[in-house]
């Protein structure tokens, strides 16, 4: 397809490997023990409300949002609290977590859920519903949705952009949601339309999902909303909000700014579905679609898993490993984290679990920088990763900040492209945390 929109600067074409695109979402088995972290979102961890021995029910509040940027955490299954412990999250940080032994009856699952009418609610009440039900962005950054959808006083939302790009290789969760939950997404969009009152809503979908483009376009036509579907040329990282906005609106969010600076709000399409469930059924966010795939997985699948499910359980459900994996990744392969412990739980931001073979990883020996410039051509933010890396390596953090280090969103284009296999993203992460720690400006 020619003439499709995309962003211009940088970007790469990693192999797609979306083998689960044709697989319907299935409910995952409920494991006997779940571990629910209090930190599943950007911001402050939720405050734990239970203690060992407590009986808990499905959808009960386990942790209360602590502060403005924080989110409620709900109990995914009925059962008993066995232990409150500290665990490592995939990102490497620590979090308090509630270990629950599954027992008893579900209050919601398998039962007819009551539908609530939301049309008479005002914005404050709608946002309150999102806050209560612990909604966070499901695209990866897990920013609390009730905060994101609060329009600052005096500004107006022109465009609401819905992210159906799913540019990370392997992942197909959003793709399946679009195919299977189209009507629900539409209802979610109506709710968001009411909250934000944008002039138009645009759904961006990459051209490798023609069935989703067709389905969403049909729905958009008869929706009665100012809703359009924009097919996008395949390019990573188009799912990043800055690249997506550039692709669909042609405008650049200023360095250091938020999409609101150009009158836009961006939301992931899976989040729209969660908004629908939270508002229409008052259902807390306690499960999500996870793509379990990778060359080492016997039967890759899209599973709807409860938050707190150990990834071991999901991998076993997919037939286990057919070959020994070289890495287990939570999230997509470009920005995801490796985990070394199969008891690591699924959290709200877990879009995928990948068991990758050595061949898929394509690791090679690190050499000196060749000065080939591939990282520079790949960087969608117009940075010079090799020079930034050297500045950080030499401890010159202020030079790195001046050269735009904070514009880096760790999308991985540079590291993917580097023939010398230099851990460029690792360098950027180090540079950011060191300059924070040393208060360099």
């Amino acid at each position: 397809m020619k003439g499709l929109k995309t962003f211009q600067m940088g970007g790469i074409h990693p192999p797609g490997r979306k083998v689960t695109a044709g697989k319907e979402i299935q409910n995952a088995m409920i494991p006997s023990t779940l571990v629910v972290p209090m930190q599943q979102h950007l911001g402050k961890a939720a405050e734990c409300l239970v203690k060992p021995g407590d009986l808990v029910t499905e959808g009960m509040l386990l942790g209360r949002a602590d502060g403005f940027i924080s989110a409620n955490v709900h109990c995914p299954v009925p059962g008993v609290v066995k232990e409150i412990k500290e665990i490592f999250l995939p990102s490497g940080s620590k979090s308090v977590a509630v270990e629950i032994e599954f027992s008893g009856e579900f209050d919601r699952s398998g039962k007819n859920q009551e539908r609530f009418d939301w049309k008479d609610l005002d914005n404050r009440e709608l946002l309150q519903l999102l806050l209560e039900n612990g909604l966070v962005g499901l695209g990866g950054a897990t920013f609390p949705v009730n905060v994101k959808l609060q329009v600052p006083k005096g500004s107006e939302v022109k465009t609401l952009v819905i992210n159906g790009v799913e540019c990370e290789p392997y992942l197909t969760a959003d793709h399946r949601i679009m195919l299977e939950k189209g009507e629900e997404i539409l209802e979610g969009l109506r709710i968001m339309q009411k909250i934000l009152s944008p002039e138009e809503i645009i759904i961006g979908i990459e051209a490798n999902k023609p069935d989703a483009i067709e389905k969403m376009s049909l729905l958009a036509e008869k929706s009665g909303l100012q809703l359009s579907v924009v097919p996008l040329k395949l390019k990573y990282p188009q799912g990043d909000e800055k690249q997506l906005l550039k692709a669909v609106t042609g405008r650049e969010v200023p360095s250091g700014g938020l999409p609101m600076a150009i009158g836009a709000v961006v939301s992931n399409i899976g989040t729209v579905f969660a908004v629908y469930e939270a508002v229409v059924f008052h259902k807390p966010l306690m499960e999500r679609v996870v793509t379990v795939t990778g060359g080492a997985i016997a039967n890759p699948a899209n599973l709807k898993a409860r938050v707190g499910t150990p990834i071991r359980s999901l991998i076993e459900e997919c037939g286990g490993f057919k070959t020994p994996p070289a890495k287990i990744v939570m999230g997509g392969p470009m920005m995801g984290f490796t985990v070394y412990d199969l008891d690591t739980p699924v959290i709200k931001g877990t879009s995928g679990i990948l068991a990758l073979t050595a061949r898929e990883v394509a690791a090679a020996e690190r050499t000196s920088c060749l000065e080939c410039g591939r990282c520079v051509s790949a960087c969608p933010m117009g940075l010079n990763p090799t020079t930034l890396f050297k500045m950080i390596d030499h401890g010159d953090y202020s030079a790195a900040l001046a050269a735009g280090l904070l514009d880096c969103k760790e999308c991985g284009c540079c590291g993917f492209s580097c023939p010398a296999h230099i851990p460029l993203v690792q360098g950027m992460k180090l540079g950011k945390s060191m300059s924070r720690k040393l208060k360099v400006s």
Binding site: P254, A362, S368, M381, A420
Partner: protein, 365 residues
């Protein structure tokens, strides 16, 4: 179901482009092999000896430097490639200590004194060649004749086409319209193949061409071992383009700028006026193809961005033209490229990418 946690934890990205330093270097070596085999065919087995000496000394230099710096770098292929390129820039009859010195100079002085792979600011193989060229000019300009010429004499060495023109044109009293005619009038030999191709073009395709340009294109000329066959150098480069190891900017702009300058001003020295230069003859002669495709494109010593590469390549094309037509050497490619290498840090400084969401142009905000 348990995991071997050894080496499991890495920072994103978790997958990688299949290219590596290793694969890039050895791909370039592979693409250079046909041109080298041609050199062995037209100049005899001694070419192989020169190639072997160059490579062995390049590897020895790399091993020594690696030993001193406690780095193991022999496997990455970059030293092998440097040695190969040094050999390709040598006449076949060169005294064997010359390629040895060139390789050692390239690896130890040009590459490792700045920190090894990627840290050098001048193309090591070219710097090595230029160093020995000025040190032993006699040996470096004694060209053996290709075995495919029928000269009818016992001569084993002679002038390269560009050398013959440069040294002969000043004393020449006749009138000619271009380099091919000049060579013809001075009795410069042609190969049977070049003559046959030219005849075939004329009789079958009805398009007139001179056998000298065909000899240059195919590689039936006196010259350095690896530079003579423009055809095979281009064939190898096709693979590098497909694999995206080299991009179009440097070779295309280099050759285009040089070609246009030759077309506009190249006829001048024959008194033929503007827009009459022999473009094909000049593109395929000397080390231009080897330089534009394999040496100017060296990653470490060329600019980072597309804009920078275009400026760099245009400069190299201009300087090559200047040296070839107005300098005292018949050949300008090596000097043009290493002169432009010197400008690369400055070019990089002024051609950084435009930052996303930043209004003001220029790098480092």
């Amino acid at each position: 179901m348990e995991l071997n946690t050894d080496k499991l934890v890495t920072v994103s990205p978790q997958i990688h482009h299949p290219a590596s330093t290793f694969s890039i270097m050895w791909s370039v070596v592979l693409c250079l092999v046909p041109a080298g085999l041609w050199g062995v065919y037209v100049f005899g087995l001694r070419a192989l000896l020169v190639i072997a000496v160059s490579i062995v000394f390049a590897l020895a230099g790399e091993a020594l430097a690696g030993y001193m710096m406690k780095k193991r770098t022999l496997r990455d292929g970059s030293a092998f490639l440097t040695g190969l390129l040094v050999a390709y820039n040598m006449p076949v009859g060169v005294d064997l200590y010359i390629p040895a010195v060139a390789s050692l100079f390239a690896i130890l002085v040009v590459k490792w004194s700045f920190g090894g792979l990627g840290a050098n600011w001048m193309n090591p193989a070219l710097a090595g060649r230029v160093f020995v060229f000025f040190s032993w000019t006699g040996s470096m300009t004694r060209w053996s004749l290709p075995r495919t010429w029928q000269t009818g004499t016992d001569a084993v060495t002679g002038a390269s086409p560009l050398g013959a023109i440069k040294s002969g044109i000043l004393d020449f009293s006749g009138t000619v319209s271009g380099p091919a005619e000049f060579l013809e009038q001075t009795g410069y030999p042609v190969s049977a193949m070049g003559q046959a191709v030219a005849n075939w073009c004329e009789s079958t395709l009805g398009f007139a061409s001179d056998p000298y340009t065909w000899d240059l294109f195919l590689g039936h000329i006196p010259g350095s071992i690896g530079e003579v066959s423009a055809l095979l150098l281009l064939a190898g480069a096709v693979y590098l383009f497909i694999k995206k190891i080299i991009t179009w900017e440097i070779p295309v702009v280099y050759l285009a700028v040089f070609g246009i300058l030759v077309w506009v001003f190249g006829g001048n020295r024959y008194g033929a006026g503007l827009f009459s230069g022999a473009v094909g003859f000049n593109l395929f002669s000397g080390g231009l193809m080897l330089g534009a495709l394999y040496m100017a494109t060296d990653m470490a010593t060329s600019p980072l961005t597309r804009k920078g590469m275009i400026i760099y390549a245009a400069g190299a094309g201009f300087l090559t033209f200047l040296i070839r037509f107005f300098g005292s050497f018949p050949e300008g490619v090596s000097l043009a490229i290493i002169l432009m290498n010197i400008f690369v840090p400055m070019i990089n400084r002024f051609t950084g990418p435009k930052r996303f969401g930043v209004e003001k142009k220029g790098e480092a905000a």
